[in-house]
Symmetry: D2
Subunit: 385 residues, 4 copies
C-alpha cells in the first residue's frame, strides 16, 4: 500500500543521485503535493557542496509547484482547497506558532533561519511528491491564466529579490545600486522598479546577464571588470552615493562596497548568502565612524500563502515576467544532468526548469525552451527526454 | 568696539589653552549666546587627541547653555525670542536646507556628520559667548523650573543616549543589552526604560558606573571582567538573545558582541564613535550568514529645538534626572584643569561641569557639587575658584 | 467518562446563569486549561446586553489564567509544556494561518475581529475548564514570582491599553491625551509612560478613577465636568495640541475630541469599542480639511504567547502593577452576583476578580482584597465564600 | 528703478483680473524666479470661489517653473545656483525651522497647512516674476533633457498624487482602489504602480478620464454611474476588500466608501480637499466598530528641493510622463480665458498650461498642443495669442 516515488537526493557532500523512496503522507494540518515543475537553485548547489553540512538521503529542491494530492484532516476541513488544484509553495514554509513568527519573522521560525525546511531539515521537492507543513498557511492557489513555470519562480527568486528591494527602503524616485545581477539580483532590480526607484544601477560583468538585467529594469550597468564600482556609482550620483544598496551576491567585498556607495541616512539591504569567513567588514570611514544615520537590513526569503498570492498577482497583472530566468529545460528523468550543468553554469545557464512527465498529460509546456533560451539545440544533455 | 572674550582653544594635536578672541556677532538668521554652564565631553578629549585632524585656535566645547545675548535681524523678527532668555542648544545644529536634512537626517547636514559644527568646523562653546546658526531651528527655551545644569546634559548625553534606544526598536516589554555604561550608555539605559524595555542588561565593570547604571535603570549588570558578556546575556535570555543591543562604547569587539547577543529579527543600534581601524567586523554566523532578518542602525546625535524641547520636558516632568552624571564642578577660569582631569577620568569623573563667573550674579548653583559627587573635597585641582 | 463542569453562560440577551456542561477536550494542536482566576470585563456586560447579537448557552469570559489540564497530541509533542504548568492566555487567540494573520493582523484572523473567539464564537473562560486553540501560539507560561491574579490583567487590559499607546506613535518626551481613565484607559496611561511620553493628560471625572489614573502616570487630569476638555488640552499644550490622542471609551464625541486636540502631523489611536450609531464623525476643520498630515490607527487587542510573555515580564520587572484594577474579589460560586454588580459598577468597582475554589488548595490569594480595594468590608455580596 | 510686472490676481470672492504690480525682490536667503510656464489647478478655482476666504489683490497660482532672476546674498553665497538656471518650485515651500518641520511635517510649517504659502499668504506664480522663500530648500534644478512643461506638473500633481500612494502603504503586489481619476487621482494611480501595487482599481465615470486613467495604470475602472463602487470593489477582491484605498476627490461619501472597501488591517490615504460640512463620516461597522486594525493617513503635498529632484528624476528616467494631463495651452496674456474655461472644464479640460511670452525667445514649446490635446482648433478662446 505504500507508494514509492523517484527523487533526487544528496548522498553526502558532493554527491547526488536519483533514488526511490516511499511517498510521504500528511499530518492533520498538512498537505502532499504532486510535483509538476521545479527549478534548480544555486543554493541547491551550495547544499551539495556542504554549505549546511552533510546530508544522507535527503531529497533536494525547494522551488516547485504542483497539484494537491492529499490533505490532512484539519487542512481538508478548512474548506479552502480541493484535490487537484494547482499550487505554489514558497521555499520557506511557515508554522506561525513560535515567538519569532509572532514577532513578524517567520523566516526565523523556531530558530535562526528555521523557516527553511525543504532540503534542509526535511525532504525537498525534487521528487514526484512532496510534503508541505501547515497547508493553510503555505499553499497559494495558482491563478488560471498562469503556466506552472512562472509561479515556480515565486518560490525563491521573486520573494527574495523583491524583499531585498522592500527592505532597502528606496524613496520614490530614489537611487539604488544592486550588486550583482544573478537571478536574485535581477529580481531585486524588478523589485526596485516596483518600489519606485528613479535610478537603478546594476553591477555585473557577464554579457548575457547584463542584457537581461537591462531588460529587467537596470538604467545603468557598471561592469566591474572595466570600472571600479565604488567610483563609478559615486560618479553616477554626483558624488553623493545612492539612497540604497542591495547585496545580492554573498561576498565580503561587495558587502563592504555596498556600505561605501550608500549616502548618509541610506540603507544597505543584504540578501546574499555569505558562505565563508569569520566576519563581514563594515568600512569604518564610509560608515561615518558608526554615526552616519545609516541602516542595514538582512532577510532570508519571506514565505507564506499571502505573500505568494501577491507575487502571483504581479505576474498575472503583467508587472513582471520571470520566464527569461529559465534558460534551460529538462525532463525530471534527466535532472542529474541539469544538476551537473548547474555546477558550471555553462551555456549561459541562469536557472534550469525540471518538468515531471505526468504533467504533459494535462497541458503543453511553453514553446521555445527546449534546451537553452540562448539556443544551442545540438547539446544533447539538456533537451533529451 | 569689538568686544573680546576668553575661550579654551585647541593649539594643534594634544594642546589646549585659554586665549582671548573677538566675541562673535550674528548673521541675519543667527544668535549669539552668553554662556552660563558647559560640560566637558569625552569627544572633546578625542578631538584634542586628533580624532578629526588638527585644529589651530579652534574653540572647543559643544555642550553648553546660556542666555540670548544678540539676535540677527530675521531671527529677531520671528518674535520667538527675547534677549536674556535662557536657552539650550544641541551639539548638532540644524540648517535644514540641504537634501540630507530634507530626507530626515539633519545630523548629516550638507555632508556626512555635517550637522556637527561646534568645535569641528566652527568655534565651540567653551567661551564666554558662542554663535548659533539658524536660531529658530536650534534655540530651545529652558522651562522655568529647571536649573542651567540639567539642560546642559540634553545637548549630547540625553539626545544621543535616547536615540540609541529609539533606533533600537525595543518592543514593549522586550529585552535590551547596552555595552557600556559610560554617560551615553547610561542615558541609553534611561532611554530603553522610556521606550518600555522589560529587561535592561548593562555591560560594565567600573564600580561607580555600575552603581549609577543600576540607579538609571539597568535590571542586571554583566561585569565583563568576571563573565563573558555574550554567554552571560544569552543565559539571561534563555538562550534566545536580546531583542535589541546598543553599542555605546565605540570598539570593534563590542560591536561584534552586539551582533552575537541579538536574536534573529532583532536590532543593533550603534551610537559609539569608532575611532580606529579600517573596518568593523560583523560575525558571520551570528548574523545568520546574512539572512537573519536583523537590522542595524547608527546615529550621530539628533539636534534641533523641537527635540531639545522634548528632552527638557522629560526632565521637567521628572522622567529623568541627569544631574548624577555631573561628578565634578569647575569655574571657567579653571577649565584647563578640568580638561586635564578628563584625560584620566581620575577621581571617578564622569562629566565635569564648567560654570561661567557672571552666572553667579543671577542665581545660585546647585549645592553639594564643589569638587566631586563622590566627595573628595581636599583635592585643590577641582574646587579652587 | 465525560466530565461535566460549571460555567456562567448567556441565555439570550440580558440573561446569564450558572449551568453544568460537558468539560471540553482538545484537538491535536490545542489545550484544555483548568481555570484558577478570571476577571469580569465591561465587554462581558456589553455581550450580555446584545452587542454581538444573541447567544444561547455560550459560556462567557475571556480574561482568565489557569493550569494545563490536557494537551492535544501535536501540542504535547512540541515539548514546550507540561501538565500542571500555570499559564495566561490572551483574550484574542491566534491561529496564524489566514492571510490577515500573515499580514500582521492576527486580531483580524479569518475575518474582521475574527481573533476574538472566547465568548463570541466559542465558549469562554468563566468555567472550570476552557479550551485554547493552537496551544503553542497562545499559551504563555507565568513566571514563578507572579501570582495568578496579575497575569489575568494581561489578557485584555495590559495588551489593549498598551497597544493604544504603541499605535499612538508618541515621540519620546511627547505629549498625549487619553480619553478616559477606565481600566483600559489607565493601562493606556501606563503604556504611554512606557513609550516615553513626557506629558500624559488624562480625561476623567470619577474621583476614584482620577486618583488611580494619577497613580498610574497621568501628569494632569482634565475633569470634563468642570472644563471643556478640548480647550483645556489646547491650553496645556500652549495652543499646539498634543502629539497623540487615545480614544479609550468608545463614544463619537470623544473620538471627535481626539481629532480636535491633536496637532498637525499627530496621531489618533482608537481602542474604544464604538457600539452605536451609523458613523463616527471626523471634525473637518480640525482635521485640516483632510490634509493635516495626521494619522489614525485602530486596534482590537493583540494576542499570542510572545506578546503575553512581554507583558508578563513588565509585571515581573516591576514596570507595572495592575493589581489596583482589581477592586473586588468573588469566589466562582458567587459569579452571578459579581456580574450583577458589574452592571452598575457600584461601590467604585473597576474590575472584579473571580477565583476558582480548587486553587486554594495550591496557594494563598493576595491578602487584603476581600471585597473592595477601597474597603467596604460590610457588604456581604462580594466577600462571601 | 522699481520694475513692474503683470499678474493675475483675485479681487475678492469670484473675481479675477490681470493687473500690474511692482516686481518682488528677495530677502537674504530667498530667490526671485522669472516665470516660463505655469499650470492652472482646480484649487485656484476653489480659492477664487472663497475656499480660504476673500483675498484682494493677491496673485494666484502655485504651479510654475522658470529661471533664476535674482538671489538673496546668503542664497547666492551657497554657491548652489546661477542666474538663468531653470528651476521647479513645489507649491508648498519649506522654511524648515519650526517644530512641525522638525517633526517631519513641513507641509504644516508654522501651523496647520502653513507650508502652503503661494496664493494663500503671499503672492503666487501667475506673474512674470515670483518670490521663493528659503531658496536652498526649495529650488530644484531641472535636468537638461526635460522641457519646462513636465516639471510644472511636479509642483502639485506628482507630489500630491504620489504621496497619496506612499502613505497608502500598499504592500508589494497588493490591491488599491483610487477614488477618483482627476489629475491628482491619476498621479496617485501612477504612484500606486510605482510602489508595486498588483491591482489598481480606479473609480471614475468621465470617458476621457477613464481612457487616460487606464493609460496611467489602472487595471480596472469602476464606473460609479453604472455600478455601486463598494459592491464592485468587494467583488473584484473576492469579498475581502482592498489593501489600501485613496480618496482623491474630497467628498464625504467617497471618504466613507474608502473605509468600506478597505480590508481589516488596511490603510485609507486621504489627499482630497474636503471643502464643506462640519465633519466626515467613518462608517462604524465597516470600521470594525473602531477595532479593525486599520490606519488612516492624510497629506497636503510634500514640498522641498529634495523631493522635487526625485520627482524630476522619475520623469527623466521615463517612469512617468505627465504631459497628457495638459489638455490645453494658453499664452499668459490670455490667462483670464484659461481661468474661465477651468470653471466649467469644458472641452475635456484637465489642466491648462500658461506660457510666458519671453520664453519663446529661448526655446520651442512642445508641438501639438495649441488649444486642446483633444484637438478642437477652431475654438478661439484657447489658442489665440
Amino acid at each position: 500500500m505504500t507508494k514509492t516515488m523517484k527523487c533526487l537526493v544528496m548522498h553526502g557532500v558532493g554527491k547526488v543521485g536519483v533514488i526511490e523512496k516511499p511517498a510521504p503522507g500528511p499530518g492533520p494540518i498538512d498537505a502532499i503535493i504532486r510535483t509538476t515543475e521545479a527549478l534548480i537553485c544555486t543554493s541547491d548547489r551550495h547544499t551539495v557542496a556542504g554549505a549546511i553540512g552533510s546530508r544522507h538521503g535527503l531529497t533536494l529542491g525547494h522551488e516547485a509547484v504542483g497539484v494537491i494530492h492529499e490533505l490532512g484532516d484539519l487542512a481538508a476541513a478548512s474548506g479552502l482547497f480541493k484535490l487537484g488544484q494547482r499550487l505554489a509553495v514558497s521555499a520557506i514554509t511557515l508554522r506561525y506558532a513560535c515567538d519569532n513568527c509572532q514577532r513578524g519573522h517567520p523566516s526565523q521560525c523556531g530558530a535562526m533561519l528555521g523557516g527553511w525546511r525543504f532540503a534542509n531539515v526535511k525532504d525537498g521537492s525534487f521528487a514526484e511528491y512532496f510534503y508541505v507543513n501547515n497547508a493553510v498557511a503555505n499553499l497559494a492557489l495558482i491563478p488560471d491564466g498562469l503556466s506552472d513555470e512562472q509561479p515556480a519562480h515565486c518560490c525563491v527568486m521573486l520573494s527574495k529579490g523583491f524583499v531585498a528591494a522592500e527592505f532597502a527602503h528606496i524613496p520614490i524616485g530614489g537611487s539604488v545600486a544592486i550588486f550583482f545581477q544573478g537571478p536574485v539580483g535581477m529580481m531585486a532590480t524588478v523589485g526596485a522598479r516596483l518600489r519606485g526607484a528613479g535610478l537603478v544601477i546594476g553591477v555585473e560583468s557577464t554579457p548575457n546577464r547584463i542584457a537581461l538585467a537591462k531588460k529587467y529594469g537596470c538604467d545603468v550597468i557598471v561592469d566591474f571588470t572595466k570600472d571600479d564600482p565604488i567610483e563609478a556609482i559615486l560618479k553616477l550620483t554626483g558624488g553623493k552615493g545612492v539612497d540604497s544598496a542591495i547585496e545580492a551576491l554573498g561576498s565580503a567585498s561587495t558587502f563592504a562596497a555596498c556600505v561605501s556607495v550608500t549616502r548618509p541616512g541610506g540603507t544597505i539591504s543584504n540578501i546574499g548568502h555569505h558562505a565563508g569567513g569569520d566576519s563581514l567588514p563594515i568600512p569604518r570611514e564610509a560608515w561615518g565612524v558608526g554615526m552616519s544615520d545609516n541602516s542595514k537590513r538582512t532577510a532570508l526569503c519571506p514565505g507564506g500563502s499571502e505573500r505568494m498570492s501577491r507575487l502571483l498577482r504581479l505576474i498575472e497583472t503583467k508587472r513582471v515576467d520571470p520566464l527569461a530566468l529559465t534558460t534551460h529545460s529538462f525532463p525530471f528523468h534527466n535532472i542529474e544532468n541539469a544538476f551537473k550543468m548547474m555546477q558550471t553554469k555553462e551555456d549561459g545557464m541562469i536557472q534550469p526548469l525540471v518538468s515531471f512527465a505526468w504533467r504533459f498529460d494535462v497541458k503543453k509546456s511553453r514553446p521555445g525552451i527546449c534546451c537553452s533560451a540562448l539556443a544551442v539545440p545540438s547539446q544533447p544533455r539538456s533537451h533529451s527526454q
